[in-house]
Assembly symmetry: C2
Homo-oligomer: 407 residues x 2
Amino acid sequence: MKQTEGGVTAAKGFSAAGVCASIKYKDRLDMALITSKAPCRAAGTFTQNVVKAAPVVWDQKIVERSSFVQAIVANAGIANACTGAQGMECCEWEAECAGELLGIPKEAVLVASTGVIGMQIPVEKITSGIKMLVQAQKDTLEAGWEAARAIMTTDTVPKQIAVETEIGGKKVTLGGICKGSGMIHPNMCTMLCFITTDANISKEMLQKAVSADVVDSFNMISVDGDTSTNDTLLVLANGLAGNPEITQEGRDYDAFCEALHFVTISLAKKMAGDGEGATALFEAKVVGAATKEDARKLAKSVICSSLTKAAVFGHDANWGRILCALGYSGAAFDPENVDLYLESRAGRLHIFGNGVACDYSEKEAANILSQPEVTALADMHMGGEEASAWGCDLSYDYVRINADYRS
Amino acid sequence: MKQTEGGVTAAKGFSAAGVCASIKYKDRLDMALITSKAPCRAAGTFTQNVVKAAPVVWDQKIVERSSFVQAIVANAGIANACTGAQGMECCEWEAECAGELLGIPKEAVLVASTGVIGMQIPVEKITSGIKMLVQAQKDTLEAGWEAARAIMTTDTVPKQIAVETEIGGKKVTLGGICKGSGMIHPNMCTMLCFITTDANISKEMLQKAVSADVVDSFNMISVDGDTSTNDTLLVLANGLAGNPEITQEGRDYDAFCEALHFVTISLAKKMAGDGEGATALFEAKVVGAATKEDARKLAKSVICSSLTKAAVFGHDANWGRILCALGYSGAAFDPENVDLYLESRAGRLHIFGNGVACDYSEKEAANILSQPEVTALADMHMGGEEASAWGCDLSYDYVRINADYRS
């Protein structure tokens, strides 16, 4: 398995485009299209928020019921959430319009939106956007990059990754794009993530792989603790790699899952590191936990702590906040037995052990914390389980961005 | 029942003091003492954080086992949390030292600390502080106010309240002081709250009243979602009002609970409104919920949402974030049936209903949101249960205060 160039157009048979449809933003790409020349098996995971955006409702139905999928239409600027019947009609129109132009049924078209909640998408703009997208689509790596740019909201950088692996003697490629960067606390973020692959894999095994994967990838990141109405992960597999179909667990399935996990973890970390106002990617790694579930709870509690995040922003080794966040995670442990470390490319420091602060240098700690990627490592000394979670620091810019997002 | 002057010295037989012991801060009051001239029944609720500060461990034992309590010694600046055996020894020393000077056993002395986690309290400073406190204590309202000032950390104002009621033909007084204002997400906040009363009530009924009360008072506020290691609520009842002892449920118990709830809700709202960096008290009120537990979850989810809080700071009626927070609260509901309103002393506005935005004036909404106390009201139309939760907006100053708290 090795990382390769590109994103959603890295795998065989996929095309993409990004255009400026002026849905809400002006003078930037705000609509994306991903298509496959062959029918795809589709899998997805979606927000667990009771309030689900219209595109989430549409996609859940398509992923569950359609025999194949061949396109994803996405827009940034307006989330099409809390938009009632009109919002649902808009989704259906998007699918119908794209389907007609692409020569596929509307049931083969997935839709996704991100942006302000509560506004209706202007139908004439999205219609002309879809026409532009269908004309503009290409199978080049650059076209995939434009799709990645077109789904950004407050993201500062586009996010894509691709990987190659070998399955059943054939080269299989997976590539993905995603956007963050606020309202990120995926329980299955306003995260949108689209992954394409040329792997030949049954729909059942594809969904199984995706559902298992998110537990330790997207569900382990948080920017602000707000689970969006629009969180959507879609994975399309068109089978063009020509590997024998993966229909059960085994070596081929494992290879697929490993490659999928590389893509999801890479994209999850990119989202966390580019959280609204973030100056650093902040990882909490828990080792020696009694159970896997405890390890996840502990790690996630630390990266969700506003106080810890503000301290990371201030490069202040306020480890008491980390220990405090472990303490309210819901997992049982003995504080006297916990070892806490801070680490980054600047080094590693033991800061807490035997129930009290270690004799560490505050200057060295501040240096470790001033790096772009910082890890808090907690060894619980209770067992063999571990987990990592990813978030970001809490900065003035988070407040600035969100105090007046709509204007 | 009516509000009256003062705080912890409002009830008969209580004295207090606040002194400058330079525990960590300089040139400000940082130690407080509350004493009763008669032995008190004591009740308390404490942090549910697995990591409990040494004073919490001490107080839990005293409240549970001691036949009476007669004093509370508190300090600000250092939390005495994550301080190991030395931290526990410090608590015992504080109790012993105060007990000796006051002529009561150490088992009648409760202790409380708030401030930085992980530092040891300097024993010589706390010892001289206790001596000063014992000499300075008075039964005046002013002395209670000084105690309220002495327990502040990042609080901008001291917080106290008192109320009079009649029980069994006698005037009964309850008064309290508290401090916030970060790491506030009480599950039973670094909240310290001390309430005194001259009511005559059995220990069992006092604890019952306190435990029932916090569910809808202190446990319904949040500043930043971080449950502290030091949260402590202590209630002392010395019986000097002379009412017939409350030993069971009934009219007297109800009158006591009503007065207690007035004190706790008043103090809880003061804490929420003075959250770190807060410019407004933000209340979420949920009505028409199916169950009381759902109503609490829904209300608390809204006041905990960073995005909603940032929008309140920006006076931006971004109601989509409110609906989103209701959606991930864990309570089931149909978004199509929810009515959302914004209200403050500037008026009341219907902003969401029938699944879509109402036709409201953004200018009017911004005016409502620019008041010092703002309420988001959600009618779920599912039943008759309601609950309120209190928090604050999320401002630049929250980040400033917490990026470098220790220096």
